[in-house]
């Protein structure tokens, strides 16, 4: 079994696809992470479906290209009233981290958006259940999990 217990889930800010489209190897790594997660099989990496629609339109991608690396999830009914784009992202991350097995969440975004996310009042008081990564830090986080996957795969041989 090539299953890995990753420490954190990934939640995509739609702008993070700017990074993935520029460096498709990140998409490949995310595909393997998503498929090999022990705690969240096939749903480890998540994107809200309303955000996936934006990505598909902006980058002219197929829906399956998005869902290859991020599971598309519907907006929970508790959050349908949330109109703010960044607030929705953060509150959805909090929602994900509050569901069993209570895996903390890393929001993947771009350098340009990171500060706006960090300044959002919904992140006040949150220290570890939701964190934000962008640029090199985001790529490193993906790289670390991909190495965990390849290590697990190679140890079976």
């Amino acid at each position: 079994m090539v299953k890995v217990e990753f420490e954190r889930r990934f939640l995509a800010d739609p702008v993070f696809f700017d990074t993935i489209v520029a460096e498709p190897i990140l998409g490949t790594k995310l595909m393997h992470i998503k498929a090999s997660s022990k705690k969240h099989p096939k749903t480890h990496n998540v994107i809200l479906d309303v955000h996936a629609d934006k990505v598909i339109e902006k980058h002219s991608l197929s829906s399956s290209k998005v869902s290859a690396c991020f599971h598309q999830e519907s907006q929970p009914k508790e959050l349908v009233q949330e109109n703010g784009d960044i607030s929705l992202l953060i509150r959805f991350a909090i929602y994900l981290s509050s569901k069993p097995p209570y895996t903390p969440v890393t929001i993947l975004t771009t350098k340009e958006r990171e500060q706006a996310i960090l300044k959002n009042p919904h992140l006040e008081g949150i220290r570890s259940s939701v964190i934000v990564k962008s640029g090199t830090d985001a790529k490193m986080s993906i790289g670390v999990y991909f190495r965990e996957y390849t290590h697990a795969k190679n140890s079976l041989r």
Binding site: T28, M31, A35, K42
Partner: protein, 66 residues
Amino acid sequence: MTIFVEFELAEDTKDLLVSNSDVVCSDVLKDELEKMDDSQLVKVEYTINSPLTILSIIPASDWNSV
């Protein structure tokens, strides 16, 4: 007919076929799947009919090719 696509490890598709005997999958596809390494990432097209049917199983290791 609604088709949905899942990206999963070949071992997960093999498990599904072992654990759910209702799933329809051609012998050709079953043979191809059996030859695959468990860690192979595959793109699987399913139809949610009665019964659930697997239409295709394609190796998908590279984001550029999906």
